[in-house]
Symmetry: C2
Subunit: 161 residues, 2 copies
C-alpha cells in the first residue's frame, strides 16, 4: 500500500496510528507476551479477541512482528522484528507524555517513570535485550537484573504496594 | 472519561492513538496552520473536512489545542497548549521510525532528518519557539533563522529540488 504522502510521520502513523496496535506492541515488548492467549487474557485494557486477532495480522503484514511456524497443533509464537523493536522509543515518548498530561493511574506508572528517568542509554539496553530475546542476538553478559527485569520489578512493586 | 487502565502509554494513545489527530497536530506544529481552511487545503494526506472538524473538537476537548474566541464572523484560530507542544517528542519519535522503516517519500523527509540529526536540544528549541508563537512566551533573542524556519527551509528545499 502506497502511503498517502511522503511525510515520515504519516508513514509511521499509517502503521502505528492505531490505539490497539500500540498496546499490543507494548505488551509484547514489556510483558513478554508472545502468544495470542497471553495477550488476550493479560490485557490491562481488556482487548477483544477479534480486535487482537486483526491487529496481530496487521502487525505481521507491516513487518513489525513475525509469526513462528510451529508444528501442527502448536501454539503460534510471535516475535518482534528489528522494526518492531525500534518502536520502543515511540512507546517511551507516548508514556512520558501520558505521565505528564493524563490522570494518574494506579498501575504501570513506575515502569514508565523508570524508563523516562534512566534516559536514552537505558532504552538502548532494553532494545538490545529484546534483540537477544526475539531475534537470537547474543545476550548481554552484565551481571544482575536485566533492563526488562528491572522494569518488571518496578511494575510489580507498584501493583502490590 | 476514565482511562481503561493506569498505564501511561494507554493514557496517551487514548488521546493520540489516532492517525488523523497526530497529522493535524503535525500541521499545526510544523506548518503553523492555525485555521480550519489552512489545515484542510494544505493537508498533504487530503484530510476530509468532516474528519478535520471532528479531530479539532477532540483535540480541544482533550486540552491539546485551544480555540481562539474571535468576534462574530471572524475565523477561529487554534493555538497549541503546553500539553500540545509536548507532543513534539512523540511526533519526532514517529518521524524517526518512519524514516528508517517506511518507503522513502519525495517530500518532508529532510525536515525529519534535520530533527533527528540535530537531536534533543534542537527539539527543545522548537518547543520554546512554539511557546512563543502559541502561548505568548518571550521569543528567543538568537539571531538568524529560528528552529521552525530552519525546518521550513529544509522542507522547501526538498520540494523544489
Amino acid at each position: 500500500m502506497e502511503p498517502r504522502s511522503g511525510c515520515p510521520v504519516n508513514a509511521a502513523v499509517e502503521v502505528l496510528g492505531d490505539r490497539w496496535s500500540l498496546l499490543v506492541l507494548r505488551d509484547v515488548i514489556f510483558e513478554d507476551r508472545r502468544f495470542f492467549r497471553a495477550l488476550l487474557t493479560g490485557s490491562a485494557e481488556g482487548i477483544a479477541s477479534n480486535i487482537l486477532a486483526d491487529r496481530l495480522v496487521r502487525l505481521v503484514d507491516a513487518g513489525l512482528l513475525s509469526r513462528g511456524t510451529g508444528a501442527r497443533g502448536q501454539r503460534i509464537r510471535y516475535s518482534l522484528t528489528e522494526s518492531g523493536i525500534q518502536t520502543v522509543p515511540v512507546l517511551c515518548a507516548l508514556g512520558t507524555w501520558g505521565l505528564d498530561w493524563r490522570p494518574a493511574g494506579n498501575g504501570l506508572r513506575r515502569r514508565h517513570e523508570l524508563l523516562r528517568d534512566r534516559g536514552p542509554t537505558f532504552v538502548e539496553e532494553v532494545m538490545d535485550e529484546l534483540r537477544a530475546r526475539h531475534l537470537g542476538a547474543p545476550a548481554s553478559t552484565d551481571k544482575g537484573p536485566t533492563p526488562l527485569e528491572q522494569l518488571g520489578t518496578a511494575a510489580a512493586a507498584e501493583v502490590t504496594s
